[in-house]
Symmetry: D2
């Protein structure tokens, strides 16, 4: 079970589809194996990048069951939903299938501190004893969560064990939260998203690891592992080798298509299909990705990777 001391790399998994849009279960198996092989300490499925919103309730359950039955590391399941009935239904299915916890982003439209706190109080009530990750991703949700609100939720809700941090800018937020837990506030785990764009700085500020799905998922393991050896300069060198691609993948609305393209190129999934509505990559974009991948390979090779 997920808890406050969780750390490392939780890879955000894509949801693979066949060209006709049906779920691609073979690719799910292959992808789970590949993520673990490339250093994942856990997987997160049915997040925003997992096209969770595009699955029917029955499909969501079948993805959860397929992943958990294959996966040898903890699995976190995104269960964000417009209402608590759907959230609870999926959460219970997920835990029954062996998930380690669930992840909840606040719904669009929440604004005041009190509204956000109240939403997560209700979430914790609805989830009972299921441990959950608070996803803080204002660029996608439009909801700005103050550090004091996160601390209050952590204080009030013992089952809130982790922050998925992807506020932008968000480095000071990590520092504020860590300073607070150093002086008595409840300390929860912080894993960082945003495609890894600020990974080194996030670690320097006190994050416990990464929860993101960059298309070359070994990056998170390599950077984190090197960082932990104390060789900060080499951790930055590795990060910088991936950065042009991280930046390219960071394009909102386009990032998942780019990521799936990269996963196909590496043989991790079979098809780069996205469900509608979703962009198709143009030849110009594909050429750009491939050029960046070639340069990335050269730089990693120069680093002995």
């Amino acid at each position: 079970m997920l808890d406050e001391s969780t750390q490392g790399v939780f890879t955000i998994a894509a949801t693979p589809f066949l060209p006709d849009g049906a779920l691609d279960f073979d690719s799910i198996d292959r992808m789970v194996d590949a993520y673990i092989e490339k250093g994942a300490n856990g997987l997160t499925i049915l997040g925003m990048m997992g096209e969770a919103g595009k699955l029917s309730a029955a499909e969501s359950v079948s993805v959860v069951q397929r992943v958990t039955s294959r996966c040898t590391v903890p699995v976190v399941v995104g269960v964000s939903a417009p209402g608590f009935a759907a959230m609870t239904a999926l959460s219970n299915e997920a835990m029954d299938a062996g998930a380690a916890g669930v992840m909840v982003a606040p719904p669009m439209g929440l604004q005041t501190d009190a509204q956000i706190v109240s939403y997560f109080h209700n979430t914790a009530d609805a989830l009972g004893d299921i441990p959950f990750v608070l996803q803080d991703f204002p660029l996608a949700t439009g909801v700005q969560i103050s550090p004091s609100v996160i601390l209050k939720i952590a204080e009030d809700c013992p089952t809130c064990v982790m922050l998925k941090h992807e506020d932008w800018p968000g480095l000071e937020k990590i520092t504020t939260l860590r300073n607070a837990s150093d002086t008595g506030s409840r300390r929860i785990s912080i894993l960082c998203g945003n495609g890894g764009m600020y990974l080194v700085e996030e670690l320097l500020r006190g994050a416990d690891g990464a929860m993101t799905g960059f298309g070359y998922p070994e990056m998170m393991r390599q950077v984190l592992g090197t960082y932990k050896t104390g060789d900060l300069d080499r951790a930055r060198d590795i990060f910088d080798a991936y950065l042009p691609m991280i930046r390219y993948e960071a394009q909102p609305g386009l990032g998942l298509a780019i990521r799936k393209h990269s996963l196909v190129r590496q043989g991790i999934i079979q098809h780069s299909t996205l469900r509608k509505p979703g962009p198709a990559l143009t030849p110009a974009t594909i050429a750009e990705i491939d050029a960046l991948a070639a340069r990335q390979n050269r730089r990693l090779s120069d680093l002995g990777l």
Copy 2:
């Protein structure tokens, strides 16, 4: 089946709950009967005011089946969902259960004309031959739909048979759409929402009726029926008698709780329970509703109603 010539009053149905939050099927039956008795030509269920987002997928299906099995007038089912898989799953269940059509609001975040048109193209593709209502409710969705976009969707998608109009201000939009259909654009049905706040003017501009759920649902029938007799001044008199309450119910986020309170007061449903997150009415609010209801009764009585 719903089509372009549909007119009259489609009452937006609440979803009744027991005090513990479970679905209240007995009240569903009673409510369906009451709406029809008070003049509904059709019902619309699982809309925003039906707390659709707070039901699990299985609950939504059970509400649809209960209503359609009881109801003797056409039923429209709200199927708005973050993705097309969930939308299609519910739509198919609804049509199998005997619904006359479905209703789709655009998801938050759509902005450009092209994005909106594309979304409804995809919707029409996903729904196949199921007739659908385009719900245009910017105050709730944040999506502004130009008249030219509505006309294009109507032109491109033969299964788009109705506009649920609740833009605000929206009177000129009705005029623009009706002028366009008078000069060759495809004419679809326009039923108006917004709690009835501009009902008389909407009829004057060319609307075909109302689709809203004001807590005294006979209002829509009385105003529309009187309007059709040509006695505009009496139609306005009746409307004005209800207006203080219409206005009170128009309070966003609070309106549904007010409406359920009124339905309970009239014996139409058993409990005013809302699912979380939802406001509870304070004593001050209840006193205001009751004072307005008493005055409304007096004014209706003066009008011989």
Copy 3:
């Protein structure tokens, strides 16, 4: 000078233009006289409905000077601006010209409680000893201000002497603020906007009056005056007589054009011109306004007004 005990009717003044868009100073004079004659205890100029954003800095100053030189009741000047330099410049000009205080709405984009509090701390610092009104109008600004935030601002900033209340729904907010001031929080004045749509209920909840610009400005005086005599039923009768027009004027983006049309019809200003971007009324809209005005006259006449 405006202070915490201010009450009554502060009429929001339009800014009259000549047909070519230039300021119409003759109409300013006439309008100031008319507002006072119709019962204004104060005027508020350069608010959102005063097209403040469409004036150059020099024009704003000239409007302030013209109004204050003519006006025999206190004048509040809207000074909302993207930055504090422009806000301070206009505020100083306003106070030099004899204004009683200024009004500040938070800029679009503020989200968390801390951001809002900080913004008004900065505002109070920038304004020095000038008394200011906090304008709480989420429908226009997108900024949701919790009661606890308003109380904190009132507590921290002695120069914040009034809330212009136009949250929607907002009745519980008034009750919460009044309960807080009854139990020790600093009590500031609350005048209500929103075109008067909930005026009677706002008074019942503890508001000190109205600050709005409904096109028949005697309404606020009549309702407030009758309310204070204790004849609540007659206050409601008067309110209800105006309500169809209040509702019609409440159409966002269109309301000011409707209001200016009404002011012209009553001879209060010469031209209904709005500066761009601003809607022009269609013949259908004008016919609707005129029909509502005729009915309003009849109902007021029935009431002996």
Copy 4:
């Protein structure tokens, strides 16, 4: 005068302040000289990053006059304003002072294609024969502008001579616009912003240069100059050397403070002061910037720069 054939690097200038918040005219002079020396083909002042919204009208004019009197390359002046009166007033002052053109971003709140087109029609009318840049920056304005809308504005408004492109993702938009101008649409200049984050790809898609204010402004000149020599790989090498800092500066709301810190470190301006509301850099942030700068120096040195 700015026209459709303008290309190269237009550096977005900061507005330097003294520690007490007053304008720092000495730093303006030094900064203008430095930008030109580092390869600017033009300057853009009073943009969002120039804290334009925080200046009074009088201060804006004084900044324009100081820059234009010193500057030997064309100057574009940001004149975005809530209304056309303020926009026109500043534009006229700017052109009188010798500016080459002005830049206009759409105001928050515009949504439909028709609203955006209408806004720029009004803008062109208000500006008369002054050439203007359309700033397309949805992350800051919330306004999404479709390629077809840009093409229509370019077609309808001869004085719209340039697009400041900073949509994100925006590469396909450049391709769409260039394909359109290759097949008959009016071709206007496209200079790209976003801190240079996608500069190489933007050039590959057909952009004419950069209009951004990255804290090491020689970057834009070096990348563009090298790109034009045809040595794409070296252009990418140079870009990649700056990318960790470009990324760091891309943090919204924090970027300008980072940039001003970098400008101070290089002796280009005297103080890193921002006007309120604006963030102060923490020691942790400053340490991160300095670490990135040191690594950037080493990588540039490896490239012989």
